[in-house]
Amino acid sequence: MRVPRSLLSGLLLLSLLVGFSVVPGLSPAVKVYMLTAGALCGLSAYLPLMAGQLSLASPAFYLIGGYATGMVSVLWVKEDFETGYWKVPLGFAKITFTSELYPWQMVVVELILGAIVAAAFGFVVGTIALRLQGIYLALVTIGAVEILRILVLQDQIGPFKGPLDPGDPERIRHLGPFGGATGLPGQLRTEGMPQPVDFEWQYLLIAIPLVILCAYFVFRLERGRTGRALAAIREDELAASAMGIRPKYYKVLAFVLSAVFASFAGTIYAHAQNAWSYRQATFALATAMLAGAVVGGTRTFLGPIVGGMVITGLFEALRSLAGVDGLPGGLRDVLLNISPFVQGLIMTVVCVFLSKGLISARLVDRLFPRDTTLFRPASDAAPEGGR
């Protein structure tokens, strides 16, 4: 059974986008914002795949990004209740931002801090996983997520207890270094995470440039030496190493970059989410990220971006469809709960019928033509039937 590829992928994309844009319930800004986070998640799942490695560790890095946001904005930066200004204690000095909004500069700090911690964790996991391939690697990465989840859930790790629980009148109970089971801000701030914006759409001022930057970065990476090395490792690691490519270096690099993108997604999502806890990193999220990459196509950077958006958009569309008035109760329950089924269906159908994903490498080559001047033969007599 061969279905015309372009027809199938075009229809799927179109129906999803139309469906997502007409469903009520969410403001357009929030929709776009969620799509950007989805795109980053897709990129994060894509980078290890470039080297032919299946990683399910992205939720761990996503969790780290969100916790970086929570720890900076709730535990470190303090609001001055008299003036409403924000203070950053640095030990030797104290920076005061004279704005009542949470300063956007600190969001940049969160992005960077989250990226550094996630990159370090990614380096560790990537190095442990170096000797492993395929299914072993996938298992170790699942394990890394689970271990991290359990770690942030703890009430106390060694000497670290975290902030005092404001709900405890005796002031002896601590929340845990990462806020424990309730997460951050938990009971520390009744109004949730500090918001860097007045209006929802202003989130896009951070999110969209970030996604474009990341996309451009991966695009350049893919076209350059690193991308070719990763592709060579994906196709045949042994042959690649015989050609002088260092598989270890590139595999760890892919892992670290994947960690950075996932942590970006976590950081920008945490503010909008208003709270962050261990529940954000689940195996289901790992499958959703992977689904994004696979659905979009794993041969070029645009695939995971589109795929991540499609999967995120789909979930939100189904959820907000359930909020439409006048639906029978049974149908509403089904709509609220059906998104894993739809995701699973898409994953299976794409694997079985459309294994290259929605976006082909050829499409990207057409959209962003390669600079072929370097490879043009010296004489004008190009070989027959050449590109």
């Binding site: 492993l132 299914i135 072993y136 689970e146 770690l151 000497p159 195996f283 109760g329 089924f341 699973g344």
Partner: protein, 325 residues
Amino acid sequence: MSFVRNLPQNFFDGLSIGSVYALFALGYTLIFSILRIVNFAHGAIFTIGAYFTYVLTGGTLGGGNFPFSNTRVPFSLNFWIALVLGALLAGLVNVAIERFAFRPLRNRNADTLLSLVSSLGVSLMLSNLIQNLVGSDPLPAPEPIPGSKPSFDVASVIIQTSRLLTFAVAVIVMAGLWYLLNRTRTGKALKAVSEDATTSSLLGISTNRLILFTFMLCGVLGAVAGTMVSTNFNITGPYMGSEYALIGLAVIVIGGLGDIPGAVLGGFLLGILQTVVSSISFRIGFWDWDFSGSSWKDAVPFITLAIVLLVRPQGLLGRAQIQKV
């Protein structure tokens, strides 16, 4: 020392849960040994098996607005008959998974990565289907032997009947599997295919039929594991299998991927380690820290996995893979 005093108890509980891990992980490892892929939908089969048995014993499904809410089958079978029937039904589901999610990919020799993703998709679909058909209410445990004593003491060890039965069932099923693999023609064929699929098909073994049989068998193993877990801890909802799915994966890697005794060893090892660790609690006065192992219990399989992979990447009983050029 309460730790030492509790050791026999933990050892018994660990054996019981470990036998389930082993049984469940065998389902992964058999498929892996033949097809070199991991069937991520095995966790969903575990759940489906538990639900099938529950329904066949005449249990009423949970409440809510779902198509099968508050319904029950008009008959009620004996638990053991329901267990066998339910396991066979789950085996058929697994065969269907093979037919629709794996075979098309195998036929065109696709990347193993795709079969992983496709089975992940099937797993999501199946668990979610249960949720949308019967809701996610927890359901009470079916009783294997009606009117039996819930527990009895043997020299300060409290033996819960359900745990003892779980252990017994798991050991019997594993013994049957051992017999099947080592003493029958089918078992020999399975081993031959796992050594070299192409050669064995040239020698007249019907590979496709054998693969279907393996999926059937693995479905039965997963479903029996699910049902026995549900007699201990109730059916906790449509996602009860997901935790076991991940632990089972850790088990097969610890034991050595595709290695059958390894999966059994890994299962028992993890079961015992987990119960022992969760009983540890001590106090570090210097940090004012009450360490309690039970909050780290869920991390045990993965920490063990990381250690085993660092020390012995091929698993405890696995053979080192020689890379062929």
